[in-house]
Symmetry: C2
Subunit: 450 residues, 2 copies
């Protein structure tokens, strides 16, 4: 099967065909992930009918779990409370949680009360973990074996789990206190005599993570050690769940989006098909911050109005210095924040990275400075102007590199998001420094410039 | 086991302890992924000894596969040809390929000739696939079952594969022409009577991908459908390999880095600990492009030198207009390129996205324009200056949004990387337009401005 392309009209026709059994069958052939993006164009009553039909087919839950975040409010709003609770009850607890979080507070309570008792308990338990923690991302669907069990008993456990419709590929051995002892690879289980004790099959002491740890750290462990699932343990070292690799992929995509977005001051919820008014309200505060810093940097230019008055062609080169500094700073910032995100850099080697970027900035700043100075000289026929541009560009680009490397590392060591705010801070500093150094040096050399 | 922290000194001591069995054991306890980043600080002879010891422990291959790309040249350089071939022979073909690619062309040939015949053949076959294609990323280690096999025969196949040290978790059913018929979940296999035919256990017609397709598309399929492995088929629909989820995680991280990097004009190989001279040589060309566009934009300012001469305070506001336009354009560009990378947008819905961003740009541009105009009026006491700034900012920010949305979509529809070059193009256009609109309107209204 290759990937499916279903048009919205085709889906509409399927939904309109009230009693057509064939339509039901056709709908059953469409993967929930293919359906999800189409929902943006459906009317509320069409959505309700679709969810009903999918529910009968045991597939509404998977479709909801795959919804793009910006469609959530519309779709959830079209499904009645009881039906929503029925659908949620079929999801793993991490998906249940990420959907209920999207509901308005009062509706959250109503829907929770309509959940079956076990799922409500699971959900309320998961809510105790901090946002974006391993505990929130984990599922509780894993098979815990005891040391003294045989391979046959382990296989029986898999059969029981499969019958209750739960996903069971990951087997762990725990002791009486539920402390994690080892992992049993399912492929070893199948190719072994039934009486083999699982303790001889298990890989002891697997990599695990605390339920309080950040989900990004869990994703890094799964990526680094090529795991299919990562056991999660509580503060008393008891195994409480697993993070599966499909959730890790979602976390990695989410965190990559967050990193890219934060570099340019976007909020995570501002996606391509988010309603325009939501995007506007999310971007306005950042725009105001930028406006403030832009005017502050511009006021530096204001300080040198009399210099500009005497040599107005200086104004031509202001955006060149600031722009090149800003570009260099943002490049360094990107290298450093990305290496932090991928877990490639610790603070100790951070100093080495700052040193390297400082050197790179100095070299590139010198090359750019010499070139710009030469161009300015040829253009304006003024060698001193060329010298001013050379010096200003060297200073600005070197400091830009230093800031681009240091700011995210300092933010991180303060426990802050290394990308958020770093972009605007670095740009502001390089703008202000670019204007100040260029116009300042020009003022000092004004007699020779004129 | 929590993640390991090993110091370079500890590792050095382990390597120095020539005959100490205990040192060997300790080394055996360190995960290859933990070792890899430490190698940057080792001397060539230490690296060679480390690889030798790991090879005895059957773990050198895993360590090489986990090396950060910037360390490759140093580590590979320290390992003799025959030893390198021995280590490579134990890797899956996709990892083998990504390592040999790093070798100089002449050494590639030497090492390939020292590979065992089967691995050399596999490698040369994999090299026929295009770069970054599914065929290059796949492994050929999967179990192909025939329709008429029983569950017991399938289990025997798993046992054989396990004995030959190959990873075998993924079972597929193929017909006589090796065409893919279905997938057999291993958990179904274990909990079924031995005589059950695999054809009744299999999930028919699984999602698959062509070996010629882009690896990013494979990653999107695995992420969207929560797969643990994706079968790869050749142009004649024969199953030739699988892409496993751990490789997908690497692809996702790689592609996210590529996206972030391309937005700011960085090359993928320019990482945090890449040698400074390599980073410099990678960034210089981009810097030259930027310098060229910055001077071109600056020459727009030069066109209006006589206007500036009459009202030098206009120079203060130039960077404000250009900076705000640049910010808005880059935000839109980021939203659109990210949605392309995550496969959320097709060209048809691209037009809707452009329309939305245009509207967002107009609204934000108007708000920013009114505010800036008011600030400029208060600051300079000149209402006409405020009006000029308002109009210029509205125009620039609206067009910036339009370009930020349209440029990546057009690049993509031309089969180009949507991020690469888009950033510099958008910034250049907004700079030039910002200068032109602001100074142009000022020139038109010059009589009222003075």
């Amino acid at each position: 099967m290759s990937e499916q392309n279903i048009s919205i009209d085709f889906l509409r026709r399927l939904l309109a065909d009230e009693d057509d059994l064939q339509a039901e069958e056709r709908l059953a052939e469409i993967h929930p992930s293919t359906l999800a993006p189409l929902l943006s164009d459906l009317r509320a009553e069409e959505i309700e009918r679709l969810v009903d039909r999918l529910f009968v087919q045991h597939r509404a839950a998977a479709m909801l779990a795959d919804l793009p975040p910006e469609l959530m409010p519309k779709i959830l709003g079209a499904v009645p409370d009881q039906r929503l609770a029925d659908v949620l009850a079929r999801l793993e607890v991490d998906d249940m949680l990420s959907i209920t979080e999207q509901l308005p507070a009062d509706r959250q309570e109503i829907v929770k009360e309509r959940l079956p008792a076990r799922q409500r308990r699971e959900l309320m338990h998961a809510e105790l973990y901090p946002a974006e923690s391993a505990g929130r991302t984990m599922t509780t669907h894993f098979i815990a074996l005891h040391e003294e069990m045989s391979a046959q008993e382990a296989i029986d456990e898999i059969r029981i789990a499969s019958e209750s419709d739960e996903y069971a590929l990951h087997l762990y051995v725990v002791d009486k206190a539920r402390q994690l002892l080892g992992e049993v690879p399912i492929r070893k289980l199948v190719s072994t005599p039934p009486q083999t004790p699982v303790s001889t099959l298990m890989v002891p002491d697997p990599i695990s993570i605390s339920s309080e740890a950040d989900q990004e750290q869990a994703a890094q462990l799964v990526a680094r050690y090529d795991l299919l699932a990562l056991p999660v343990v509580d503060p008393d070292d008891r195994m409480v769940g697993i993070i599966t690799v499909d959730d890790v992929i979602d976390v990695i995509n989410e965190e990559a989006t967050e990193d890219i977005y934060h570099l340019v001051g976007l909020s995570e919820s501002d996606r391509v098909f988010t309603a325009a008014r939501v995007s506007i309200s999310r971007r306005l505060p950042w725009m105001l911050v930028n406006l403030f810093t832009a005017f502050t940097a511009a006021s530096v230019v204001g300080l040198f109005e009399s210099t500009l008055d005497q040599l107005v062609s200086l104004a031509i080169f202001l955006p060149v210095v600031a722009g090149m500094g800003g570009n260099g700073g943002i490049q360094t910032l990107t290298v450093i924040t990305r290496s932090i995100a991928l877990g490639e850099i610790e603070f100790s080697s951070g100093l080495r990275a700052v040193g390297k970027e400082l050197w790179v900035g100095l070299v590139i700043g010198t090359v750019a400075g010499v070139l710009s100075g030469f161009i300015a000289y040829l253009w304006q026929g003024n060698p001193v102007l060329g010298l001013v541009l050379l010096l200003a560009m060297m200073i600005t680009m070197t400091v830009a590199s230093l800031l681009g490397a240091a700011v995210p590392l300092v933010l991180k060591s303060l426990g802050q998001d290394p990308a958020l705010g770093a972009g605007v801070l670095v740009t502001f500093c390089t703008d202000a420094l670019g204007f100040f150094s260029f116009l300042g040096i020009a003022t000092l050399l004004l007699n020779r410039l004129l």
